[in-house]
């Protein structure tokens, strides 16, 4: 290849990558909502992307790359249907689609079907454990390797589970539609949970930063933004978006320049990303105006109190403890119970915190790192170095992050025996 050809080739490759990244979910959604076959839509789009890699360097990048890919993918689906010589029910819809999109080549005027895809991915008939991976693959276009890395599951296992889920969606003829207004809040909950699971549940300060979460944080926020664009009048959608933005804003402060773990109470607010915090405040305010409280709004409120320290220089621990009381009423969980105990310890002393920790089911926390980290912290404050050392050891042994492990080891070694 001549240097010029190489350059054309490279720019065509970059164009394919860019459009795949930008539009994967939209294109899969457009195809799958018409065929009810996610795997088929993904295969057709993958074929179209491969074709683009050959055609675009030769003929140049089309004016409208998305329309080109959609047409190519749709033709694949039609070919496939013809090949099988069965008149699948989707063939007429696909033909109709040809006309539909030939008339409107401006992709901005195509319907955005990603919301329907999100509702299918988190459908009650689909195993909740697969909701998050399905969304990551079909809406964001992540492959099984990336999903496995993010969620700590073997890529092959994830691949098989995704195939099973997609088969079920096709065979059970799960409808690609937006739930009716009376159903929407119920159906929205698993969608929100799946997005939040992608973000990572381990944001309680004691549990520590996590490499996997870093990779997924932006993707989860992006999904929540898609949801907010389409359902602007649901307060929990905005609450979840606010919650994730608050956490994401603090991410740079979770490590010192030397890579050491920095707990929230010791973070310098100057290291927080203020524009992100402002966006979060805007979302949370809008959510409150709808006057329908919910779990994500409460969790976002807790984060909002934490970041107030940037202005006031202090943390309103009493307000945080109040919000955790509300959270435990509304959506009790082990993580919530541990954080609730830690919050009350800040206000009413370590003894109270320890009593609350003791009330949590001991079987459920055997391998739950945040419980042991909080327990160690409280026992240290109560000058019980032996018990604290034991709890630190448990927390260290359950930590995945070496920076967190180093932080806890240092705390443990600073204990002075009585």
């Amino acid at each position: 290849m001549s240097p010029l050809q190489t350059r054309t080739h490279e720019s065509a490759h970059r164009a394919v990558e860019a459009v795949a990244r930008e539009s994967y979910g939209r294109l899969v959604a457009l195809l799958a909502t018409r065929t009810r076959d996610i795997a088929g839509a993904e295969d057709a789009l993958a074929d179209a992307l491969v074709a683009a890699l050959t055609v675009w360097p030769r003929d140049g990048i089309p004016n409208n790359p998305q329309a080109w890919l959609l047409t190519a993918a749709r033709n694949r689906l039609l070919d496939h249907a013809r090949h099988q010589q069965v008149h699948e029910h989707s063939t007429p819809t696909l033909r109709l689609m040809t006309r539909e999109f030939d008339e409107t080549t401006d992709p901005d005027r195509w319907p955005d079907e990603r919301l329907k895809l999100l509702f299918v991915c988190a459908h009650p008939a689909i195993d909740p454990n697969i909701h998050t991976p399905l969304m990551l693959q079909t809406v964001l276009g992540l492959d099984a390797v990336a999903i496995g890395r993010a969620l700590l599951v073997a890529p092959k296992t994830i691949g098989q589970r995704l195939v099973r889920a997609k088969t079920k969606i096709r065979q059970a003829r799960i409808a690609f539609e937006i739930p009716t207004p009376d159903q929407i809040s119920e159906r929205l909950e698993p969608v929100l949970n799946a997005i939040y699971a992608a973000f990572g549940n381990s944001w309680e300060d004691s549990s520590g930063a996590d490499q996997r979460v870093t990779e997924l944080g932006q993707e989860a926020i992006w999904l929540a933004r898609v949801l907010r664009e389409q359902i602007p009048d649901d307060p929990e959608v905005r609450g979840l978006l606010a919650l994730m933005l608050y956490c994401e804003a603090r991410r740079p402060a979770r490590r010192s320049a030397e890579g050491r773990f920095v707990p929230l109470s010791e973070q310098n607010p100057k290291d927080w990303r203020m524009p992100m915090i402002e966006e979060a405040e805007g979302e949370l305010t809008a959510a409150f105006q709808m006057r329908r409280p919910g779990r994500y709004q409460i969790e976002a409120s807790i984060q909002s109190v934490h970041v107030e320290r940037a202005q006031t220089g202090r943390t309103d621990s009493a307000a945080i403890a109040d919000f955790y009381d509300q959270l435990m009423q509304l959506a009790p969980s082990i993580g919530g119970a541990v954080a609730h105990a830690a919050a009350h310890a800040e206000v009413r002393g370590p003894e109270v915190g320890l009593t609350l920790l003791d009330q949590i089911d001991s079987q459920a926390v055997i391998s739950y790192q945040p419980y042991w980290a909080v327990r160690a912290h409280l026992l240290r404050q109560l000058s019980r170095p032996h018990a604290a050392a034991e709890a630190y050891d448990r927390a260290i042994g359950l930590s995945e992050d070496s920076a967190v492990r180093a932080f806890l080891t240092e705390r443990r070694n600073r204990l002075t025996p009585q």
Partner: protein
């Protein structure tokens, strides 16, 4: 289900076991991890291995013994130890592998134990 965590380490990691400055943190992390495995009730067995240079390999070829100094694989990362865990699923095994201190500096390979081999035979002497 029984899963083996095979722990691979670099020469520097083997050296760290001896170094007095680093061994405190190194040993501390391993002690804590071992404690967590015991408390979770999943530990079946396992031991650290001595450094690869202490290894000797044995082969029989045409009825002749071939004895060689050093480990089997001539790679930088060497098997440094193994742990057997009783766990419900591969997902759980991966989670415990990620918590293993060696996951941060070396490599932890997760392998299910082959089903046809009677697992409890290996358990008998492992709790010492």
């Amino acid at each position: 289900m029984l899963y083996a965590l095979l722990i691979y380490e670099n020469p520097e990691d083997f050296a760290r076991r001896e170094s007095s400055i680093e061994s405190e943190a190194y040993a501390g992390a391993w002690r804590a991890y071992h404690r967590a495995l015991l408390d979770a009730g999943i530990f079946v067995g396992g031991k650290p291995l001595d450094a690869p240079e202490t290894a000797t390999t044995v082969r029989l070829r045409d009825s002749k013994r071939e004895i060689q100094d050093g480990p089997y694989a001539n790679t930088k990362e060497q098997l440094g130890g193994f742990t057997l865990l009783e766990l419900p699923s591969l997902d759980a095994a991966l989670e415990w592998a990620a918590r293993c201190p060696a996951a941060s500096y070396g490599t932890v390979e997760v392998r299910p134990i082959a089903v046809e081999i009677e697992p409890r035979v290996t358990v008998a002497n492992s709790n010492s």
